[in-house]
């Protein structure tokens, strides 16, 4: 009996935004008489931090401190459409909507400031809540003063709206899958190396370390990106070695109805996480950002499966990689049953799992590979 160590890698990509697009997000912003900024957007924050990210984008785009921004996504009477928080779209698609709204607000602030200072708005900048003349920073007016001037002088509500919608990419050739437009807002990339220890007596697989590299375009908030990576890593680990809704799939027997019979990853399952972030900016996302929320749990399962093979020489391609599956695979390996079939140049693994092994010979669907 022994603990065997192994390592496996995976390299993946994942699209930002709903597949084939056509998923709008909208926002509107108003400025209070003292210069504080109210954002109304319809994006649900499910823990991903969209309230935070969108507030940062607004603060940056207008040129005011983050603390001046209030974010209201609380209801559909005051907030405009956001298709939803899924498809890794909250930072890019919904973020671009608030960015566009913020750009309109910035324009209005500069316009009114220009009137107040009698300077062309194109010669003005907004830094840290103050409108300053470019090259002559002593000539300035605070954003609160601009807002007050708007309210009680010019009779204007400083507001801006924004909408982000990438047109729907139709499948124009259903036989090939060709589309008429790019079907995503951006693509993010990641690689992962998983290190495991496999106990050949119990079959248990411990994931000891994950070395991962993520390209997020630009990290609007690096801490939040780290949080997504950490959370995704444990969910990927769960998919790889712990979790299943149907322990005897495809049977529906013995489903776990509580914690304990369903194995949710716990603090004691945490591997060491070594993470490298790369920023390869997107062409048209907010400040170059791309999505990461979902991709974070994709590379671990295959990296773990490859690592298990590296450790004990068995390929387990049904998830989760449970101790029972490991022990059965080790027994099959020892008795020579798990070798792939080789015929000419064709190597066939997992024949017993295949459609061909289970379906009737006259079933119309099969993977056709001519050996």
């Amino acid at each position: 009996m022994a603990i065997h160590k192994g390592r496996g890698i995976a390299a993946i990509e994942y699209p930002t935004g709903m597949n084939q697009n056509g998923d709008p997000s909208q926002a509107w912003i108003k400025v209070k008489p003292d210069g504080r900024v109210d954002v109304f957007a319809g994006t649900s924050d499910i823990g991903n931090g969209s309230k935070t990210i969108q507030s940062q984008i607004v603060a940056e785009t207008i040129g005011v401190p983050y603390e001046w921004v209030t974010y209201d996504n609380s209801n559909t009477d005051s907030s405009p459409v956001c298709t939803g928080t899924f498809a890794s779209r909250a930072t890019f698609v919904a973020g671009m909507a608030v960015k566009k709204a913020a750009e309109r607000v910035r324009e209005r602030i500069l316009d009114i400031a220009g009137k107040e200072l009698e300077i062309d708005p194109s010669d003005l900048d907004i830094v840290d809540g103050e409108v300053v003349a470019k090259g002559a920073p002593q000539t300035k007016i605070s954003v609160p003063d601009v807002a007050a001037a708007a309210t009680w002088g010019h009779g204007e509500l400083i507001t801006g709206t924004g909408a982000q919608l990438k047109p729907y990419a139709a499948i124009v050739e259903p036989d090939t899958g060709k589309v008429d437009l790019p079907p995503h807002s951006a693509i993010s990339y990641a690689s992962c190396a998983a290190e495991v220890e496999v106990d050949d007596e119990t079959g248990q697989v411990r994931v000891t370390r994950l070395v991962q590299c993520f390209d997020v375009g630009l990290a609007i908030n690096p801490t939040l990106v780290e949080g997504q990576i950490d959370g995704g890593a444990i969910q990927g680990l769960g998919l790889g070695v712990l979790e299943t809704s149907y322990p005897y799939y495809p049977s529906i027997e013995h489903r776990g109805g509580e914690f304990g019979s369903y194995l949710a990853p716990s603090m004691e399952d945490m591997p060491v996480l070594d993470t490298v972030l790369i920023e390869n900016p997107s062409a048209d996302g907010p400040y170059g950002a791309k999505g990461i929320g979902e991709m974070a749990n994709n590379p671990q399962p295959p990296a773990i499966a490859s690592a298990v093979h590296d450790a004990v020489g068995v390929w387990i391609t049904e998830l989760p990689i449970t101790p029972e599956r490991v022990l059965r695979a080790l027994a099959a390996k020892a008795s020579g049953e798990s070798e792939p079939t080789r015929k000419g140049k064709v190597v066939v693994y997992d024949q017993d799992l295949s459609l061909a092994a289970v379906a009737r010979p006259d079933a119309p669907v099969k993977l056709v590979v001519d050996p």
Binding site: G47, V81, Y246, E258, N280, D370
Partner: protein, 456 residues
């Protein structure tokens, strides 16, 4: 930049740690009725008799709702994407999964609601279920869906998602080796710590206020509006602060039924799923069955890929056609494979309908194709980093359905982890970039697939 790129604290961080963040159930709705559902105990059965009158008459019961009370019982949540409806809000003539809701009850407390559910008279005629996607295509398989055992409404009446590129037969002829494998990731739970929950208040002006845990306020509002055949301004969705979703809270699982109960009883209504309901009745990530056969050269080029995918959609389509389409667009993963033959089916089984979960459609194909790449590396005796770097997308390469890659980062992410691990690579691999293919990295078989990044 000041705010962007900064590690500012979470907008709601202080609220979270002082217990002040308001989730759906933290809204105080005095007098809200408790909701419980009558759920199918059978994976496949006809409903021979349904009589809720004993429950309706029970003391403390405010309302009972069945399919007859729903203005539009079957609504395709993705009908705007051409995916017609198949799933009833409440089962009418048959049930197709254990846990499928048939009736809902609103009562003054949880005990009365449970007793009322028990008092509903129902008779089933049990039918043979189908659980194994691989058996769905057998001529004598039980037929479990009015559309047949797999989704038939892709474009132009296709009954599967299809990708074709290049000349797959030539690729398989030219290959030195063909490696074939089967990949089956499991259904898992989204498992948010907050279960499905909503509260609905009928307002004096005839509107409904819906405190919802949805991940998609407007999407869910549209679903409720369609089932109830009402304009959007009949509803005020209040939410946006969710105790975890991971894809499971797009299903609009509670809102419509709570609205119907609130309308029928003229009283506020609350439905919080128990953790057991969350485990056993909420949608899961789909199980997938994927078979991959790659035609490769002995020096590590992937010439072509044949793939079939059977997506286990459970009893109804929900968002599965969308998921399988996304899956097909990404079935080459991070690599440029010029000859492709992909077929993917949305297959129905008598289990809880599967739905979105983090990575929907692509998590599965990443598992299959990345494990497969490692197998190929092993068969060819090639370093798994080098195999991936060689085949990785470059600027100007095209995706399975012809979309040009304008700025792929596969090469730098692989080099970054190799560097971090201290994994030695030959100089020509260590210096690889994402620049358009040329020289040794542009063999003849990759020329035809090239596209112009300017066309993006």
């Amino acid at each position: 930049m000041k705010a962007v790129g900064a590690r500012v604290p979470r907008y709601d961080g202080v609220a979270h740690v002082t217990g002040r963040t308001v989730f759906v159930e933290d809204f105080d709705v005095p007098g809200a009725a408790w909701v419980k559902a009558l759920r199918s105990p059978h994976p496949h059965a006809g409903i021979a008799k349904l009589d809720a009158s004993a429950a309706e008459r029970m003391k403390g019961v405010r309302a009972v709702v069945t399919a007859a009370d729903v203005p539009l019982n079957v609504y395709g949540h993705l009908s705007a994407l051409g995916i017609p409806g198949d799933e009833p809000l409440l089962a009418e003539k048959e049930v197709r999964y254990v846990g499928q809701p048939i009736a809902v009850v609103a009562a003054e407390d949880e005990e009365i609601a449970l007793a009322a559910v028990d008092a509903i008279e129902i008779e089933y005629d049990v039918r043979e279920p189908l659980f194994d996607v691989r058996k769905a295509f057998d001529p004598d398989a039980p037929q479990i869906h009015e559309w047949g055992n797999w989704y038939p409404h892709f474009e132009d009446g296709y009954d599967h998602r299809q990708i074709r590129k290049g000349d797959i037969d030539a690729a398989f002829d030219q290959a030195d080796l063909i490696v074939q494998g089967v990949y089956r990731p499991a259904a898992i739970e989204q498992l948010p710590i907050e279960t499905q929950v909503c509260q609905v208040v009928p307002e004096a002006n005839g509107r409904l206020t819906i405190y919802s845990c949805t991940q998609a306020l407007y999407f869910s509002m549209g679903v409720v509006a369609a089932h109830l055949q009402q304009p959007l301004n009949k509803f005020k969705f209040v939410g946006g602060t969710v105790g975890g979703g991971f894809g499971g809270k797009v299903d609009t699982a509670t809102e419509t039924l709570c609205c119907l109960l609130a309308l029928k009883s003229c009283k506020p209504t609350k439905w919080r799923w128990t953790r057991e309901e969350e485990f056993l009745c909420s949608s899961t990530r789909a199980p997938w069955h994927m078979e991959v056969a790659d035609a490769v050269t002995k020096d590590g080029w992937i010439l072509g890929r044949r793939m079939i995918t059977l997506h286990d959609s459970g009893a109804y389509a929900r968002f599965s056609p969308y998921g399988v389409t996304k899956h097909s667009f990404h079935h080459t993963g991070a690599y440029t494979i010029p000859n492709l033959h992909f077929d993917g089916w949305v297959v129905f089984t008598n289990r809880t309908p599967t739905s979105a979960m983090r990575g929907f459609g692509v998590t599965s194909v990443s598992f299959a194709t990345e494990t497969h790449m490692s197998r190929i590396a092993e068969e060819l005796g090639i370093d798994p980093f080098e195999l991936r770097l060689k085949n990785a997308n470059r600027i100007g390469d095209t995706s399975p359905n012809g979309v040009v890659y304008t700025d792929p980062s596969t090469v730098p992410t692989i080099l970054a982890i190799a560097d971090h691990l201290g994994h030695e690579l030959p100089a020509d691999y260590r210096t690889m970039t994402t620049e358009p293919r040329s020289g040794d990295l542009l063999p003849d078989h990759l020329v035809a697939q090239l596209g112009n990044p300017e066309d993006h």
